[in-house]
């Protein structure tokens, strides 16, 4: 391409003649991708000695030109230099577009350019690769915990589920490299199947306004993107290794990218993590190790006007589940709760025994885009995902090594997106989505299916328009419609079928009546509308105000609809309801954002009113041959969540920075006038960072994290008969644990080995004071303390 430009310049330079030459050329230089102005671009007219730079508005002008054809070379520090041919006729106006590509090498990052905004009227929180690398040995849940308003619903220390403004699971949509994750996210103990090391950028949107990705994000959207590849001849990579004493394990990840000037690129990345049993301050948490293996491959072509990308990733994880959490009923639960230490503590081991999870997630996608001059950019994507989840319980006899749950979820999605070229300050994005999903529950487990076999078809369409009234004021309006059809084959236990009166209400869906089961064929239709309306206004020198209202509609997930049985890891019976309709959330949020060198802050209050909110709560205690079990039933109610997230950052001196964070959310069931369960307690974080660029980019930080005791919670306690004492006892499953305070230390120092190679060494200490604590949002808080002190050594090599 460069040769071509020079050839054009050479050829054209010979064509200049002397004639009447008092004409001019003026215009602006723009970013090809989003039409933004490029300041400081250099324009040179071949054959003359004229060279100018674009001004603060991206404008330039040449004078003393003849009516002739000229060659103009346009260059910009962050763009590839391009040659253009211009025919001058009088006062000529012309705009040039450059591809504003990314220089990722040598850690030069261009904020806000590498990854485009997903929603224009919600303040996005972004974690870049520097932050993500600090969590290389953890999960995306760990990294997201860094942001205000985000916490996680944990199952022990190995399964972390992001919780955005109090909501989780299928209310949080996760987009992995442009693909909507379908990894059985309905389960509260199913962690997202994403390798944090495959991601270059993680964006959080605390609302449903990113309509491109779906209209059902009642809680929010998490967008994980892979790092962009620069359009230049290069070969680069990085390796990271983290060793930690808690869990006595290590995480190793490496990636390599080869790119070419002509736009072709290929990349490969892999991660290996192996940990044994973790430790609480006073004891070993038996069977909490994990073994994760990930791989991703990508190949693509990036040209000015067209390109394509093919991507494949594999995520595989074996996760141990705390042995002491596996209970046989309410009597066992009483013992487990009354004991201060887990009832089973074994010696340290790397072995992962039952209970355990084994998940495999394949993701393959192919994407192409083409830019049409008059229309805009058209993008088409097909993706396929296969999620296989095996859960192993402690079993007896021949079934000993057999999974109790074996689900395979296949999803095919076709996306067509059109990014219409901006006309008169209005830009428009629109698209179509069609997907087909098939869930297969393996009957060979010998355990009745938790989630039935089903086929699900979804089609959706959306449109989002932006009106940019002026540089300071932008309005965004969007709408989306989705239609979902589910064709389900579900076996109901005959006694359940009759006790719920389904035999009368749903007699038409019965396919076959068996010995003690009924085969049914529910066919469900859901019509979901969603929308967003928002505005952004910039004022003063560095203030921005965001206002956004969004409506989200969520189709009930399979567990909401079809659960009907014992949930081992929760030691309770869970019952769904076939009659549920879509849950509709209305979220209104404001953000005031100040960005300046010395003091920056964000204040973000919000209210989320959700009708037909699906909650699960205890309704009964059932007497069974295994003793008493608590029965939890899903029901629909009206809910209200109110909260505020505050972030602040202050530069105390040249080398010292203070960061502060407050997250507060309150959730209520408006029908019953009681608090919602599992709402994150108030959290305050304070951090002092010392950073000295001149001294090998030394960075040291000390973070204090204070979690209050949740004082608002529903009373779900129940009574259970204890044979030893011949009477009943109250089981306290409601009272949240006490407040706790944690200190975390983090440091890193950088060494340049050669021009393009850096070596970074880091030391991190989590839970510095080895505090014993229990977290209200950890489902195993009844059985064991959370993690004790952990020393981590990080090594990173860029090449």
């Amino acid at each position: 391409m460069r040769y071509y430009a020079i050839m054009v310049l050479l050829l054209c330079s010979t064509l200049t003649h002397s004639q009447n030459c008092d004409y001019s050329l003026s215009g602006s230089v723009l970013d090809l991708h989003d039409g933004q102005i490029l300041v400081g671009a250099t324009l040179i007219i071949a054959g003359t000695d004229q060279a100018v730079q674009t001004d603060i508005d991206g404008k330039f002008s040449f004078s003393n030109l003849c009516n002739d054809t000229y060659s103009v070379q346009v260059s910009h520090p962050f763009c590839r230099t391009e040659g253009f041919t211009v025919k001058i006729f009088g006062k000529t106006r012309r705009s040039f577009k450059l591809e504003h590509h990314v220089e990722e090498l040598n850690q030069i990052t261009i904020e806000g350019k590498a990854f485009s905004n997903k929603s224009k009227t919600i303040l996005e929180n972004t974690l870049n690769s520097d932050v993500l690398e600090r969590y290389s040995n953890g999960s995306i849940g760990d990294a997201l915990n860094n942001l205000s308003g985000v916490s996680s619903l944990n199952t022990g220390n190995t399964v972390m589920k992001p919780l955005i403004n109090g909501l989780h699971s299928s209310r949080v949509v996760i987009i992995n490299n442009g693909v909507r994750m379908e990894d059985q996210e309905w389960g509260a103990e199913h962690a997202p199947n994403i390798d944090i090391n495959a991601i270059g950028n993680l964006t959080l949107i605390k609302g449903a306004s990113a309509l491109k990705y779906g209209g059902d994000a009642v809680g929010g959207v998490i967008i994980a993107e892979v790092a962009k590849v620069p359009v230049k001849d290069s070969l680069y990579g990085k390796s990271l290794m983290t060793m930690s004493n808690n869990g006595r394990g290590a995480s190793l990840t490496a990636q390599l990218t080869k790119s070419y000037q002509n736009g072709w690129y290929a990349k490969i990345q892999g991660t290996l993590k192996r940990y044994g049993d973790f430790k609480a301050p006073n004891y070993i948490l038996s069977n909490t190790g994990f073994f994760e293996r990930n791989l991703s491959l990508g190949i693509g072509l990036n040209r000015f006007n067209y390109g394509f990308e093919a991507y494949y990733s594999l995520f595989k994880n074996d996760i141990g589940i705390l042995r002491a959490s596996h209970l046989g009923g309410a009597q066992d639960q009483v013992l487990a709760i009354e004991s201060n230490v887990p009832l089973i503590i074994n010696d340290f081991t790397y072995d992962i025994d039952e209970p355990k999870q084994n998940v495999t997630h394949h993701l393959a996608k192919i994407k192409g885009f083409k830019r049409f001059d008059n229309l805009g950019e058209l993008e088409i994507q097909y993706d396929f995902q296969r999620n296989n989840r095996l859960e192993f319980d402690i079993r007896r006899g021949d079934d000993k090594n057999k999974a109790s749950l074996d689900l395979q979820l296949d999803t095919h999605t076709l996306l067509l997106d059109l990014d219409v070229k901006a006309i008169n300050k209005i830009s428009l994005k629109t698209g179509l989505m069609a997907s087909y999903q098939k869930n297969i529950a393996n009957p060979e487990t010998g355990v009745r299916r938790l989630i039935p076999d089903y086929d699900m078809y979804t089609i959706g369409t959306y449109g989002i328009a932006n009106f940019k009234f002026n540089e300071r004021w932008l309005l965004e309006v969007g709408g989306r419609f989705d239609y979902t059809y589910m064709n389900v084959f579900k076996f109901y236990r005959s006694s359940f079928w009759e006790s719920r009166n389904y035999d009368v209400i749903f007699s038409d869906i019965v396919v076959e009546e068996l010995n003690n089961q009924v085969l049914t064929n529910p066919q469900l239709n859901f019509y979901n509308g969603s929308g967003t309306l928002g505005s952004t206004y910039s004022f003063g020198k560095d203030y921005q105000l965001f206002v956004n209202y969004s409506i989200a509609s969520r189709t009930p997930n399979p567990s909401d609809l079809f659960s009907e049985g014992l949930h081992h890891s929760a030691s309770r019976i869970e019952i769904g309801d076939l009659r549920f309709n879509s849950e509709i959330g209305h979220k209104l949020m404001f953000s005031l954002n100040k960005r300046s060198e010395v003091f920056s802050y964000t204040i973000n209050p919000y209210i989320n009113v959700i009708s037909d909110f699906i909650v699960i709560e205890p309704t009964d205690v059932r007497q069974t041959i295994r003793g008493n079990f608590q029965v939890w039933e899903y029901r629909q109610t009206n809910a209200k969540l109110i909260g505020i997230d505050v972030d602040a950052s202050y530069s105390i001196s040249e080398n010292f920075i203070y960061n502060g964070q407050l997250s507060l959310v309150k959730g209520y069931d408006r029908t019953r006038n009681e608090p919602l369960i599992n709402m994150p307690p108030v959290q305050i974080k304070n951090e002092i960072v010392f950073q000295k660029y001149s001294f090998n980019n030394l960075r040291m930080s000390l973070e204090s994290e204070y979690n209050f005791k949740q004082n608002e919670y529903p009373d779900n306690n129940f009574e259970v008969f204890i044979p030893e004492i011949g009477t009943t006892k109250l089981v306290d499953v409601s009272t949240p644990p006490d407040a706790y305070h944690l200190l975390n230390f983090n440091s890193s120092i950088e060494f340049k080995t050669t021009k393009n190679k850096t070596f970074v060494v880091g030391l991190e200490i989590k839970n510095l004071l080895n505090t014993s604590y229990r977290n209200y949002l950890n489902r195993f808080r009844y059985y064991a303390d959370d993690l004790g002190r952990n020393f981590l050594i990080n090594l990173k090599f860029n090449y």
Partner: protein
């Protein structure tokens, strides 16, 4: 040319998408293999006499909404020693699966416990043991003491700590917990 390429890709992707087959075969039912529905305790007076039996039957399993059906014992006689046997079955299968055999095969991982409650005065001792010599308890002896009535609970623990001094430090998971009202006359 570029447009042609692009359209070709579009077409190929379209074919991929529509090529997914759609088979509507009805799934096969799953019969729960490990479910315990029935506990039967038989007590035979050691000096001869009529057999006493107690049955705890939960035919739709622990997940099913129906309550267990409990057939209580006829009264025990003061001072009499009984030889007890416990039978555990899965009656959702036909014929019923005898789970006692499995429990006895995996004797190291199982143990029965007998817990009198209320005003019931009975004492129990184990009659069978695992390969390490620790109690298993599918067979036991029961001696009825003073007259009175109360509850008698049979508990089967899976993977308990062995040896142990009773339910409180046995740990493991409860596979069965069946309580009967019992009278000693």
């Amino acid at each position: 040319m570029k447009n042609v390429k692009f359209l070709t890709v579009l077409l190929l992707v379209g074919i991929l998408f529509t090529a997914c087959s759609n088979d509507d075969d009805a799934p096969i039912p799953v019969d729960e293999e490990e479910v315990i529905t029935t506990l039967t305790v038989k007590l035979i007076p050691s000096g001869g006499g009529s057999e006493i039996s107690m049955v705890y039957r939960d035919l739709d399993g622990p997940d099913g909404p129906n309550d267990p059906v409990i057939t209580p014992s006829s009264g025990l006689s003061t001072g009499v020693t009984y030889n007890g046997t416990i039978r555990v079955e899965n009656e959702t299968e036909s014929p019923a699966e005898n789970i006692t055999e499995e429990v006895e095969e995996e004797d190291l991982e199982h143990q029965f416990f007998y817990t009198p409650g209320g005003g019931l005065d009975v004492t129990t001792t184990y009659s069978n043991f695992d390969s390490d010599g620790n109690p298993l308890g599918t067979q036991f002896t029961l001696t009825a003491g003073a007259a009175g009535s109360g509850t008698l609970t049979f508990t089967l623990r899976h993977e308990p700590t062995k040896p142990n001094s009773g339910l409180s430090d046995a740990g493991g998971e409860t596979d069965i917990s069946a309580t009967f009202n019992v009278t000693v006359q």
